[in-house]
Amino acid sequence: MTEDCDGEEQDEETRRWSPGQGSSSSSRGGGSGASASSPLKTRCVRGRVDQPPPFSGLVLENVLENVLQFLACRRDRNAASLVCRSWYRAEARTRLELFIGNCYAVSPARALGRFRCARALVLKGRPRFADFNLVPVGWGARFSPWVASMAVAYPWLERVCLKRMTVTDADLALLARSFSSFRDLTLICCDGFGTPGLAAVAELCRNLRVLDLIENDVEDEDEEVVDWISRFPETATCLESLSFECVNCPVNFAALEALVARSPSLRRLRVNQHVSVGQLRCLMVRAPQLTHLGTGSFETVPAADGAAELDVAELESAFVASKSLVCLSGFRMVAPEYLPAIYPVCAGLVSLNLSYATTTAEQLKPVILQCHNLRTFWVLDTVGDEGLRAVAKTCKHLQGCQRLRSILYFCQRMTNAAVVTMSKNCQDLVVFRLCIMGRHRPDHITGEPMDEGFGAIVMNCKKLTRLAVSGLLTDKVFEYIAKYGKLVRTLSVAFAGNSDLSLRYVLEGCHKLQKLEIRDSPFGDAGLLSGIHHYYNMRFLWMNSCKLSLRGCKEVAQRLPRLVVEVFGDQNKDLDSDAVEKLYLYRSLVGPRDDVPSFVKIL
């Protein structure tokens, strides 16, 4: 249990008292020197009485803290905290960003109790397969208990980043009220909130620098839509980043334009598809200093007053003026006649996301031929092979795929030869996710399973940490993964494998495996039990529609008391049936959670 905070033992010894502790010693790159109340004061208010250590020990710990404050990487910090108790305490006091990969692995009380000086929280909730409707509504991962605890424990909180959590409007309001230094809110794939919550954040977080809403399911019941953009303070703001592409309701454009005009620090702006290209131009003119732009619809909306459509030349001059743009995205509707307007910025682009645009090769080529500096590229396969060749030719940093680090590719069919070629050309791959959408599809030329292709990936891409497999696959591919995929941390399996051997290979061979998500594969109890030696080292295992039974799951639960084993699934199944439809197991320091819905059973 050494990887993340969520896996580490809590030291129950009395807390140390240290007079040197305070905001002055804990400032680092990201933190502001003049932050709110010092942590020491808070502890006194709570009435803790601690044994002061011997003087020499105190000095040593102060020195240690001053050194540890430079340690940013959480894995390094985890290692440092294990050296001895003194280092454990010093590290706990100097950790500024708290990363919790599974919100149920630890309770707010324990996490906040150990790390008393954190200024930032990164919290992840639901397993990733929730994105595909495989986790029923109401399963959990609520932000409420966390924000309630932090309101008391972290009055100086500055940053929160949540992924796949349920966040209510009330939670956002509490957050906005409780933290006077709050500056960064990032919500990714969350749900449960709507425009009232956003309004509270806009209005009450006076020091807000970042409001990034990414792929959330934002409530937009017509009766309850609030004009949240108008709620930002009327004075100049400190906004640096504003992203609201996922907010489906239209925003008050006049208010948005005025907001942009009074936000001199704004560098990143990503608007939703209700912003027309004409409106976009207005915003760009107000903010020529932007580095990241999400363009919204990128098409014209017929004006009610019959005003003339935007001239492409006018739009182009706005792009000419945006000399700092490095990242372009959006293009939700993209009227192709406006695409040439972005030529002036292409040479400077490091990232281009066209994944919402049904661009053809003809439309793409003149754009991509100028994007010499592109490092990140999203596109739909409407561009075809010809489009991709243009990409490969121009983008030296993607070129010949030699330096490619990450591939996510959806296709109808694939061949082993193509995947083998990818593995030889892109040996630096860290992430390889191939989704052959036809389930159980073999190599469409040879008719063979896709084992050899994925085998080549794990053999040749020695830095691979994340892998998603698809197509017709036998146990063989998992034998390859176990043998060669020694650095793999995340593995996604769907409709694959022949037998429990597959699961056994992976659980016995992939020593770094942290996250394993499996669906619709014929793996049963024997496979499940083969991972008993490893589950404490993992963040989670998810399996749905496999061949598990209650008996096997119960055995795992019995043998591993620190594991929470959740089973859930169909209410309609026969009462006799021992079959388990969905399994989600994860290590936890705090045992079964107390917010279990009725359809979940914890073994």
Binding site: V137, E215, D217, T376, D381, V431, G438, H440, N498, N572
Partner: protein
Amino acid sequence: MASGLRMEETELRLGLPGGGGGGEAEGVKNSGKRGFVEIVDLKLQLQTPVGVQEAAAEAAEKVRRSPNHDSIVSCGSDPEKPSPPKAQVVGWPPVRSFRKNILSVHSDKGRKEEGEKSSSLAALVKVSMDGAPYLRKVDLKTHRSYQELFMALQKMFSSFTTGDYGSQGMSGREFMNERKVKDVLHGSEYVPTYEDKDGDWMLVGDVPWEMFVASCKRLSIMKGSEAIGLAPRAMEKCKNKC
């Protein structure tokens, strides 16, 4: 800040074509009988002689009864059809729902390249339920009948129902029975209603399935007592339309 959550380095991503997951010609499979079904599947890619067709249908039926098929909604097995029916699967391909809707919007604007692709795109509608704190979305295109839809809805909101809603063997067909609906309205059971393109709230089940999919904008599962007023309106509307 979220450095642990996204790849910052060089990245190439190629996404779905406009057609989503259409064009699959496979039988339903999710069982240990891998060898047999695999052979059948490969054969189905080519000519489909009637013998193989029936075997496929039989295999599909067997698999449907096995306990772990729940992620696969259904596979109608009609041996008369020239090609095997499509099997729709929950959450496959693994694309987030907002992207599916984006693609269908593109297709609506007439940019699609093949006519039939639009029919395989998603028809995502919001589902709300009285008393449930969360909205959900359901893709109507992944279901072929009211019965399937009701089963999916029940699974979706299983934590909130009292168990009265269709769990005691009340099939979709029974539910659609006019008399039964009226009986239900008097009780405290939940009744599925939907808002159609005209903005009217109707009872689910009144119109043929395809018509429902085409006109449904969103779903709301109301308590029976609240849905009482709908029945007469639904009848009226039907009369006016027919």
